[in-house]
């Protein structure tokens, strides 16, 4: 019973980890672009206020 628990947990870890890595590769890149765009906007508005 106990070895089965660890087997299922290890399988879940590998499946989850592989999936989330690919997902983050795509979505994380979008997040970076969005973050840099907003920071650029903020910098431009601060510069124009000055």
């Amino acid at each position: 019973m106990a070895p089965l628990f660890w087997k299922l947990l290890a399988a879940a870890c590998l499946v989850w980890y592989s999936t989330i890595t690919v997902y983050i590769m795509v979505r994380g890149f979008k997040d970076i672009r969005e973050m840099l765009r907003k920071l650029k906007q903020t910098r431009n508005s601060v510069t124009s206020d000055e």
């Binding site: 870890c13 989330i20 840099l36």
Partner: protein, 503 residues
């Protein structure tokens, strides 16, 4: 003999390092304010947050001790990872403490404490946090270097016939390699702050994950799950699968780790800085819930590597060095490069985040009295960069080049418990208990420090050493530190209630 091939594996590592440096340095132009430098202008979204939190909280040191847990305790050694994941999931779902923390708009934890308990508690908390954090970080470089030397098979002694500078350089390969690595990390952290940390964390998460998944898949394919289970059964018996049945673990180990991990989820600055950098409280909570399962993998995957090392090398091997020794000969050329790049990624992301984290507390809280007149953004940025550089220099001298005479792990244990036993008590009281006062906060910090320091002192005295280890042990003493810090907050606050201005 290691399978590391300088041409194939060295090229993989070189490409990774070049990519990271370019990405880390290219975003520095977006830094205009202290808030950009410390919390990336609070523009971090969920998936970048997940990548950053996961990369930050997995370094070579983590990989070494979680693999050692697998070697020493079998599958039961992954129990702290399950407890950490449960704590993070619960905090993420409920927003317990992290929601009011993010909504307060502070840059650091001690800044929140000042609003409730006054400037004295802010500075005291800042000192405790920085002391605990830096001493913990002091072991990162050398341990990381030792892992890399083991898996790559580089010699640490001068070649026969070598003399002068060449001999000195060969004898100090580890120190020189880690110095170059730290200088690279420091360069992009000093220039780009949290923004560079987030972007490089993203790349490092991908490289680190690719390496970890590939190595684990190869172990399962070549060694086999059945062999791992057989080994654990033969060496550890049922205790290798159940922490309550293991003679060196039991319920005190589980309870201590549950408290420790909840405390880390709530107050470990490198973790909660992702909440503070999130664009709102809801995003911070999502980062927690979606990263939580990673902490099971963080313990179980290197744990499997440790069990595979146990199967290959036997229980007589040094438990800390078993995993790198096993991987050095198990992985073929090409995959060695991926492993080294993955481990470098893990270490660099941790180093950069931790340097920035402790710098933020030094600047924001310990230097707060000197900034009363208000510093310009330019001056603030300059100071932050100098502090990050200073932390880098400290790490090189204290953790790498200076030959440590004491037991650094003991210092880390003590300072870690002092930090993690009292800070969660202050945070919970600050957020949810109206009668909490500055006196209670000071009493909690003092009480959280007394137990670990007393335990350490008794452990060092020959007359009491054996008795405290046999009758108390680190888990009971750790549990007592948490309970005493909580009790001190209640008693201190009721004995000397908060003044009206403190509220």
């Amino acid at each position: 003999m290691s399978h590391f091939n300088l041409a194939i594996d060295g090229s993989i590592v070189g490409i990774y390092l070049l990519g990271t440096m370019v990405a880390g340095l290219i975003v520095r132009k977006y830094i205009g304010r202290v808030e950009d430098f410390l919390v990336a202008g609070r523009e971090m979204n969920v998936y970048l947050g997940v990548a950053s939190l996961a990369a930050t909280e997995f370094g070579i040191v983590t990989c070494m001790y979680t693999a050692e847990n697998g070697f020493r305790y079998g599958f039961a050694g992954a129990t702290p990872g399950i407890l950490y994941a449960l704590a993070m999931m619960a905090v993420g779902l409920t927003g317990f403490c992290i929601k009011p923390l993010r909504q307060s708009g502070v840059l650091t934890l001690p800044e929140l404490f000042e609003r409730r308990f006054g400037p004295g508690v802010r500075r005291a908390a800042g000192v405790v946090i920085v002391l605990g954090g830096l001493l913990n970080m002091g072991v990162f470089l050398r341990t990381g270097g030792e892992f890399l030397v083991q898996v790559t098979g580089f010699s640490l002694s001068a070649a026969p016939g070598a003399s002068g500078l060449a001999a000195w350089m060969q004898a100090h390969t580890l120190e020189l390699a880690m110095t170059v690595l730290l200088l690279m990390v420091a360069a992009y952290t000093i220039l780009g702050g949290m923004l560079s940390v987030l972007v490089t964390d993203y790349l490092q998460f991908i490289v680190m994950s690719a390496g970890m998944i590939t190595v684990t898949a190869l172990i399962l394919l070549k060694v086999g799950w059945g062999k791992l289970v057989e080994t654990v059964q033969a060496v550890h018996g049922s205790g290798g699968f159940n922490p309550f049945a293991h003679p060196q673990m039991g319920w005190p180990y589980v309870l201590f780790n549950a408290l420790l991990n909840l405390a880390a989820v709530l107050t470990w600055m490198a973790v909660i800085q992702r909440v503070l950098a999130a664009k709102d409280a809801r995003t911070g909570q999502k980062v927690y819930t979606r990263t939580s399962f990673f902490f099971v993998a963080r313990f179980l995957i290197p744990g499997i590597w440790g069990i595979a090392a146990l199967a290959a090398l036997g229980p007589g091997t040094n438990s800390l060095q078993a995993m790198p020794r096993f991987l050095a000969t198990f992985l073929p050329a090409g995959l060695m490069g991926l492993l080294v790049a993955a481990m470098l990624a893990a270490d660099m992301s941790t180093d950069s985040s931790y340097m920035l984290t402790w710098a933020s507390v030094i600047y924001n809280d310990i230097l707060a009295p000197f900034r009363r007149q208000g510093w310009t953004e330019r001056r603030g940025l300059r100071w932050n960069r100098m502090i990050v550089a200073g932390i880098g220099a400290f790490l090189l001298l204290y953790g790498l080049w200076y030959p440590l005479k004491g037991d650094l792990w003991t210092y880390c244990g003590v300072t870690g418990t002092i930090y993690l036993s009292s800070m969660p008590v202050l945070l919970i009281a600050c957020c949810y208990w109206k009668r909490a006062s500055a006196s209670g906060a000071v009493a909690a910090i003092a009480a959280g420090a007394v137990v670990p320091v007393l335990y350490l002192a008794l452990e060092q005295v020959p007359a009491t050493s054996a008795w405290v280890r046999a009758n108390i042990g680190p888990y009971y003493s750790g549990i007592a530190a948490y309970l005493l810090a909580g009790a001190a907050m209640v008693v201190g606050s009721l004995a000397k209630p908060a003044l009206r201005k403190e509220n």
